[in-house]
Symmetry: none
Subunit: 218 residues, 4 copies
């Protein structure tokens, strides 16, 4: 017997409401009762869909990151060449992070929790997205090397670093209370990376434009 559509829809509804409340109040300060209120259901009903508060927390994070991955996947698929694929990833990241600005503390709480809990599912979920991005980035980096845009390098290492850097910029943006434009910061970084990795030939073509961006700042 398949799980009814209703059941799935309701589950997602709870996740959506929980995301709201968790984001606003934080994981620890959020009471299941508040989530139930937000979802317009009884407190006990939440437990029909999620065994524990922790499981619901994981579901919220999973929903966010799955959506993020899906967006990137479709945008990258729609782009035709490696360079516009890279741009698609960057744009998706900026949009995702900007739309998640209010949820930033919760992301930190989730990461902290993932590092803390004995339940390996948390860290696994965090790294699923990291690896998705890393593999995608490495693949594109290799293509750019092959296409003669980038000089030869360790694409896997590069991509792994990039994934962390992306989170770091987001973190800075949030901690500094969004006092600088996130998209400009990403472009700035991309220019710097670009200048560092371009082959001499590519530098002739693109170097000036990238250098100009670095001069302009954000």
């Amino acid at each position: 017997m398949p799980i009814s559509v209703d059941k799935v829809a309701k589950r997602q509804d709870i996740i959506r409401c929980a995301a709201d409340v968790f984001s606003r109040t934080g994981y620890h300060a959020t009471k299941i009762q508040e989530i139930a209120n937000a979802a317009g259901i009884g407190k006990g009903t939440v437990y029909e869909y999620f065994r524990t508060k922790e499981e619901l927390f994981l579901a919220v994070y999973d929903a966010w990151m799955s959506a993020y991955e899906a967006v990137i996947e479709s945008r990258v698929a729609a782009a035709t060449d490696p360079i516009s694929k890279v741009d698609a990833i960057r744009d998706s990241a900026v949009e995702f992070y900007q739309s998640r600005a209010e949820q930033a503390p919760l992301l930190l709480e989730f990461w902290a929790h993932a590092l803390r809990t004995s339940n390996p599912a948390f860290l696994a979920r965090v790294n699923r997205t990291r690896h998705f991005l890393r593999d995608l980035g490495a693949d594109l980096a290799r293509q750019l090397v092959e296409a003669g845009w980038f000089a030869d390098m360790d694409a896997a290492a590069f991509a792994q670093l990039e994934t962390g850097i992306s989170d770091g910029i987001f973190l800075a943006w949030v901690l500094e209370q969004r006092s600088f434009p996130l998209d400009k910061a990403y472009t700035f970084r991309q220019s710097m990376i670009g200048l560092g990795l371009l082959t001499p030939e590519a530098r002739l073509a693109l170097g000036d434009r990238l250098a100009g961006k670095l001069k302009r700042g954000f």
Copy 2:
């Protein structure tokens, strides 16, 4: 009437013990009683030195970051030219982060808390170190530009980004369970940045060495 040396020493002792327990157990799961036990004092005594658990949390973070800043300051002062000053910062960061690997979740919790609490002292403390690093970085970047190593650029923007990137690499290292050597990752990143920013003349001198590091990965 000056606060006695004993009082100050005991306060620091409590901070040290609290740092241990908080790191191991996490801010929320830590009970004041456990900190008191670790410090070999009564629970009430903790409250003679810190008004609330939150204040103690702040004191722990402050102690860490103040020590970090002091280390950087002295190392940078000891270095004689801009390039070795940059290396001093990088080495200090790597050492700090490596020594704080076990404390990483607590740093995340602190950041999350800083973004959540209405007490502005938390975010202020976070950003004090950020600004310290940013200003230091911007100053050095300007010197490198003037010395002809780096092409002209927005040094403030560059330094601000770098500060975030540094945290991001640490975050990646921790979330991926320290599966790569942190120092190598930092060197990799420095090479990439270097290649991007070098003047054509400097590239002639250093480019090959940096490109080699990128090829080798970490």
Copy 3:
């Protein structure tokens, strides 16, 4: 959705048990756990019915005084003439106070708390009963004046004073460890008042009997 009968009954049950424990131990020394034990429920359950210990305290007092008012109301309604109405009030008071002898310290604590707390509901509740008694007394006093029993006087002032005097006698009785019969004391006082207020004509009819009571004491 009406609150279920069960909920109301349980609430009253908690009030009853709380009244017992509060009376025995005093407001401050009483632990919610003890009330829960007395009611045969969990500590948390108490908080399902009362937001705070203070609110429960108010509920206990309210229950007592509401019952007191109800008794007086019904007895006064049952009496046919002003004089027997006055007697009904006096008898009700004596019975109430005698049945509340063990609770006297708690009444004092409640009054003290009412004067202390910023929550105006406490003093309001205290004065609700006072005004009920005052208005009733003033009404009857006026009737007795009109009927020619009492000489003319300020009935409102008289009734207000009487209400306080009644509490004062109770207080004396309690502080002196009930070393005199409360009912006799009330009768004594009533005789004294009577003698003071009677019209000359009424005094001819009743004076001797009242004077005899004063001679006899209590």
Copy 4:
């Protein structure tokens, strides 16, 4: 070796300060530290003069009531005839209560505590003043009977009742937030009592004046 004057003076100073703080904050909410602050001494010093907080509470009450008794004693001694002695008591009571209006909740707390504690000194102290007033009142009542002003009656019972009534009026005054003039209320009551107790002869002389007061109210 006699206790030094300094020691006695300091003890009284602490009592004075404790009276202030207790009155303002209430017995339970008052911290020894606050009393020490008010007295400009160290917390530990309080314990050099009083074994416990409870003992200090008793000392405060004792100081108040002893002063009250002393005032009455001297005023009564200064009055020459029974009627002006009665007036002296009434005036002293009104003045005492008016000056103690702010302290009323603490008096209630003290009475409640006296009824609650196993330490008999509390109730004993309360009743020492009661008996002082009762004996004084009974004595004067007997004199008034003998002088032909009052009809014969049980003077001891009368005086005992009067003592309670006096507290009751004060209680009413305080609970009703001093919404009526205390001195007028006392005069009103005295008139009522007078009218009740006067001999027929005395009534001829004084009755109209007293009846007029009852008509005027307060």
